[in-house]
Symmetry: C2
Subunit: 197 residues, 2 copies
């Protein structure tokens, strides 16, 4: 079956019955994107949400000095979008880019409305996804002001297993809000601790 | 007229007509709280949103070492609540405390449902408040990973005018995710720049 990850998302997370999955296929589009391809640019108003069927995306901002700052990674089964731009119809402050060749399911603004017309309980499941989005942002703020670089790195490994093997270290450091040198030091210290244990 | 700030919020932000303000009064409660009084504790499930009519609240977490980390300040006209605990019915990871003697308007979970029964367009206005909440959290994450201590401090002054006079410096440093020593240095450097200009 094609796009198995997205189909699982529809049935398990959104509660679309298995025999109804074909109905949904008119509500989304599939895009094959190449590494380094940009799906959203600063200044654009976003109307799309990206579900990662295969591959890896990231959302980042660029500061005045031209430096990139990673807000979020999205490997397989993750959803990524600039919710603020989408919901408030404002120009985005962010970029979304493919870090690997990827297969992306693109849903547009009307996706949930269309789906909820056929399956009314989807609206509630979607609202829960938004509440979880708020929870993740709140936890990320709390982690950024209250945890050490080492704690943040360990959380990263738990949240994104195996991603260290797929992402350049400077991007991980940027996501953690630390310098690449600090990340190297943290990794070295952790390796030493393991050695002692 | 009593509770003028909250009445303005109802009429201007939520679009409740002026002659309908009396209808709302059965949907909320007013609490007078003393400095240092705690309105929400870690481990509790929150069902309340606090509108600050007068005074000042803060939301914070306490880490394993017992250190406090300030997530948000809420002076007059601000709304503060642990949305995650409220929306997902989960135990809170945070505390909400009065920093000054305060007059607080407490609305419970059913507030917007009750209000929307009488004024249906309130539901949409309330959704927009939630979208703005997401925007603020997203901007705070971006600021924490991408801006310098000085930039963050200047943003703080813009976001919370006059709050430096009402809040101990260590709390401001905690909110900015920097040490009190770094905050002192930033303030000294800014004062020096001003002197030169």
């Amino acid at each position: 079956m094609q796009y198995q990850n997205f189909r699982n998302h529809l049935s398990k997370t959104l509660g679309v019955p298995v025999d109804g999955l074909e109905v949904c296929s008119s509500f989304y589009e599939v895009e094959e994107v190449k590494k380094n391809e940009i799906l959203l640019r600063e200044g654009e108003v976003s109307d799309s949400t990206f579900f990662v069927e295969k591959g890896l995306l990231r959302m980042y901002s660029i500061d005045k000095a031209g430096k990139e700052h990673v807000i979020q990674f999205a490997p397989e089964n993750w959803i990524i979008s600039d919710t603020t731009s989408q919901l408030l119809n404002e120009k985005s402050r962010f970029y979304i880019e493919a870090i690997e060749d990827s297969t992306i399911i693109v849903t547009k603004d009307g996706f949930f409305d269309n789906l909820a017309k056929v399956y009314p309980h989807v609206a509630e499941k979607n609202q829960r996804l938004m509440f979880n989005h708020i929870k993740n942002l709140q936890n990320r703020v709390n982690a950024l002001i209250s945890t050490t670089a080492e704690e943040r790195y360990l959380d990263f490994l738990k949240k994104y297993p195996n991603l260290m093997l797929r992402v350049p270290q400077w991007m991980v450091a940027s996501y953690l809000g630390i310098t690449p040198e600090s990340l190297s030091r943290v990794r070295k210290e952790l390796a030493n601790k393991k050695f002692i244990i």
